[in-house]
Amino acid sequence: MNHIDIDRERCKSCGLCIDVCNKHLLEFSKDLNSHGYHPVELRNPEKCSACSLCGIVCPEGGVQVYKEIRDKTR
């Protein structure tokens, strides 16, 4: 399954990734991180296209995007 990995401590709740994800998969967490921000979380990983846009816009370099590799022989 595609998914993204958000560095909770780096996230500053700027919301740029939320805005750019055209699948609308990202939301602020209710919890605060130690810097006082509500880090972003991925809601429905199964819908993630691993398009990387969230990573490209994140000013904190806080997002890594993983793409599932399907076995081509299948």
Partner: protein
């Protein structure tokens, strides 16, 4: 089922927590620079020059040797590096619009004019971020800042300076381009410009302006800031490549410098 890293954090970014405000695109610009250096495999041959401005701590985040120049003097300091280091080194300076276009105007014009083999990354956010949002030379007409509380009055303070256009009147530069960090698409393009500049650096002076946001100084949310940039900065600061190797300003090609005064 295996997975691959579609988008990862370049190892050229250190682990330090960045001091930038939420949504500030300085962070994006840093990442792009780090990625380019990483991809070119020149980390051990690259020296950065940080400005005085919000990016003064750039050396905390980009993992190459760094020097910190006085306000506006990064092009002079970078010249000092270039003229003393072996030619295989890559040297870049990272400057804000107050740093480069206000106090540092003489230094950038002259480094460009000398054709110093450098890459200058000019992060134009139309404001003095670090000092609390004062008017910059690139502040847009009517834009409110802490020192233009009624909006920039062009009759008193003039219009924004377009640095790419200005430098494009000089003969020596080999690459001058303006990009924008206002969207993922533009960010990808901006990275290409940075890569071109670094690739051409050993041929001469290279310059990349990146239109950038300052949500804090602008008093807008990060997302509104991106939209504001597109709507208001782009019409006056068109994104394009102004200079590529071989191109020359008007009147220059026709001119054959072969004279001597006194023998």
């Amino acid at each position: 089922m295996t997975e691959t890293l579609a988008f990862g954090r370049t190892p050229l970014l250190t682990h330090n927590y960045m001091h930038y405000c939420p949504g500030c695109t300085h962070g994006v610009a840093h990442r792009l620079v780090a990625e380019v250096i990483d991809e070119m495999g020149i980390q051990d041959r690259t020296i950065g020059v940080s400005p005085v401005g919000c990016a003064v701590l750039a050396y905390n985040y980009i993992d190459v040797d760094f020097i910190e120049a006085a306000h506006g003097r990064a092009p002079a300091a970078a010249t000092g590096l270039r003229r003393t280091l072996p030619p295989d080194r890559y040297i870049f300076a990272y400057q804000g619009d107050g740093d480069l276009a206000s106090i540092g105007m003489a230094e950038i014009v002259h480094a460009a004019n000398r054709g110093e083999k450098l890459t200058i990354i000019f992060v134009n956010n139309a404001i003095y971020g670090m000092t609390g949002g004062q008017m910059a030379p690139t502040t847009l007409p009517g834009m409110k800042t802490t020192t233009s509380p009624g909006g920039r009055d062009v009759a008193q303070t003039g219009h924004p300076i377009r640095v790419c256009e200005l430098l494009d009147t000089l003969v020596a530069p080999v690459f001058i381009a303006r990009g924008s960090l206002s969207s993922a698409k533009n960010t990808i393009k901006a990275k290409k410009l940075l890569r071109q500049a670094f690739d051409l650096q050993h041929q001469g002076f290279t310059f990349v302006e990146l239109l950038s946001t300052c949500p804090t100084g602008w008093g807008l949310s990060p997302t509104d800031s991106l939209a504001w940039l597109d709507r208001n900065m782009l019409p006056f600061f068109p994104t394009k490549t102004f200079r590529e190797p071989g191109a020359m300003p008007e009147h220059t090609a026709a001119y054959h410098p072969d004279l001597k005064v006194r023998d």
